[in-house]
């Protein structure tokens, strides 16, 4: 009985602050002119699909997020692997060092990149000394991807690291005893074992990097509006709840669908790493 009571605050909170707000977003996405006579309408969605510019923004967001996620896996996996296999006494310090930048706010970290990337920044200055002339990296897709990777990399490393910690050394020893070379041990045992961790990492990197805003506004000089910037603009600048809601719903549908297909390739026995 008492255990049921324990869950009441969560029930209430979930209803009031998660379900009702989402219902409001969806409701207004289908309602024309919320201030006048509210009637059902699909205009928001029609506007989105009838103008190729918006599809282009969505595709660009997906592309940038896809590349960022891939780079995060390629950079983050070895780091997580080395950390998980390490017996060094500095291991704990390294893990804390990786999490620490998150205590320095996301926006501060993003803005800090300007010191390196802008025309008068460090990289450009060094390049000028070497005779390659000043180069302004801001306002390029490269900069947006670089900063996305930077912002979200710890979210990729940690779930993979936690999954790899659970890997039993005796399985690896057994495989080696049975004649598998190190590469085979890695691809046959370690990598499949870490798939749930990778999937958690993908969820934690891909979704925020599709829908982030501010990164493209700061280091991208606003030249590459992403879908998040578009949504923000609709709600905060033009106050169009219908169109904003339509973009949000389309984006969420695409992202959820992609995540669903990625997750389906996972075997059921391990489950999603996030949910463990």
């Amino acid at each position: 009985m008492k255990k049921t009571i324990c869950m009441i605050p969560l029930y209430v909170w979930t209803l009031v602050f998660i379900l009702v707000p989402l219902a409001i977003v969806i409701y207004y996405a289908f309602i024309s002119d919320p201030h006048g006579d509210a009637s059902f309408s699909l205009d928001g969605f029609r506007d989105f699909f009838s103008n190729p510019v918006f599809a282009e923004v969505l595709l660009r967001s997906l592309k940038i997020a896809f590349i960022s996620t891939l780079v995060c896996i390629l950079l983050g996996y070895p780091a997580a692997y080395f950390l998980a296999r390490s017996k060094s006494r500095f291991k704990f310090v390294v893990i804390i060092l990786m999490l620490l930048p998150m205590w320095i706010n996301f926006l501060i970290r993003t803005y800090s990149w300007l010191s390196l990337l802008e025309k008068t920044g460090l990289i450009s200055t060094l390049l000028t000394y070497m005779g390659f002339g000043p180069v302004d990296f801001t306002g390029t897709e490269f900069a947006v991807i670089l900063v996305s990777v930077y912002d979200f990399l710890p979210f990729m490393i940690m779930p993979i690291y936690i999954t790899l910690l659970k890997l039993d050394q005796s399985h690896l020893d057994a495989a080696a005893d049975l004649g598998a070379n190190p590469a085979k041990v890695f691809f046959k045992i370690t990598l499949p074992f870490s798939v749930p961790g990778i999937l958690s990492g993908v969820a934690m990197v891909f979704v925020p990097s599709v829908t982030t805003f501010a990164i493209s506004q700061t280091v991208g000089n606003g030249k590459f509006p992403l879908i998040g910037d578009l949504i923000q603009e609709q709600y905060m600048v033009v106050s169009n709840w219908q169109f904003g809601g339509a973009i949000s719903i389309v984006t969420m549908a695409v992202v959820l669908l992609l995540m669903y297909f990625i997750n389906r390739t996972d075997s059921d026995e391990n489950g999603g790493g996030i949910l463990q």
């Binding site: 008492k2 049921t4 324990c6 869950m7 605050p9 969560l10 029930y11 909170w13 009031v16 602050f17 998660i18 379900l19 009702v20 707000p21 989402l22 409001i24 977003v25 207004y28 950079l75 080395f82 950390l83 390490s86 310090v93 390294v94 804390i96 060092l97 990786m98 620490l100 930048p101 320095i104 706010n105 996301f106 501060i108 803005y111 800090s112 300007l114 010191s115 390196l116 025309k119 008068t120 920044g121 930077y150 990399l153 490393i157 979704v207 925020p208 599709v210 829908t211 982030t212 805003f213 998040g228 923000q232 905060m236 709840w241 949000s248 984006t251 995540m259 996030i274 949910l275 463990q276």
Partner: protein, 263 residues
Amino acid sequence: MKKFFKSSYLVLIILFLYAPILVTAVYSFNSAKSRGVWEGFTFDWYKELLERDDIIEALSVTIVCALIAALVATIIGSMAAYGIGSKQKKGNSFILSLAYIPMLNADIVTGISLMLLFTIAGLELSFMTMVLSHITFCIPYVILSVLPKVRQLDWSLYDAARDLGCTPTRSFWKVIFPELLPGILTGFLLALTMSLDDFIISNFTTGSGANNLSTLIYTAKMGLKPEFRALSTVIFGIIFIILIIVNVVALKKQKNNKRGNEI
């Protein structure tokens, strides 16, 4: 050789994670307004920072909001995890997937949906609405940390305590709670981290008069001003000092434990 490669790889990743922060720190002592040219060493930007009351207020808003949000989220999340984990019921995985929505959903949608809720409910966007929003996205991280601990609980210990004459409440606090405590603390720390790191949800759910650091930097376009470098460096410094203290304390504890074991 192999070990050297592994260590240098990790060092490179750490360098990557700190490069922009460190470069910004160096430039914070540069008297030139733009970053590229070095015109000499100065503390001017720090002096200017001290005179900005709005920044100091935003810093305290950030910290107070994170502490309240993490505390409330820890209480709600831990209670829920205890309820969900100690009973196998069909509805549990359903409520769990609903409760995890803010963690999996895009921050921008979470932020906007909460903004619409507050607007329709007639609440003015303020410090309070920001805290409520932070609690909302912190709860899943607490459940995530506490739930495994609940599932690992050995209920026979609880039964033993009851047999030995403890009341249910006393048995809970003496036997169950200490087992859950590491998970609860992890959850609190994770919630605190998420709240401190957040920009997107705060941006939508706070109003004028209640800026945290990130919304202040965003609305005042402060990221482009030289005081920003000083601010970034100060925050980095504070966090670094906290880290060193925590490490020293942990190290001392470890030594004491070892000594205890030897005896």
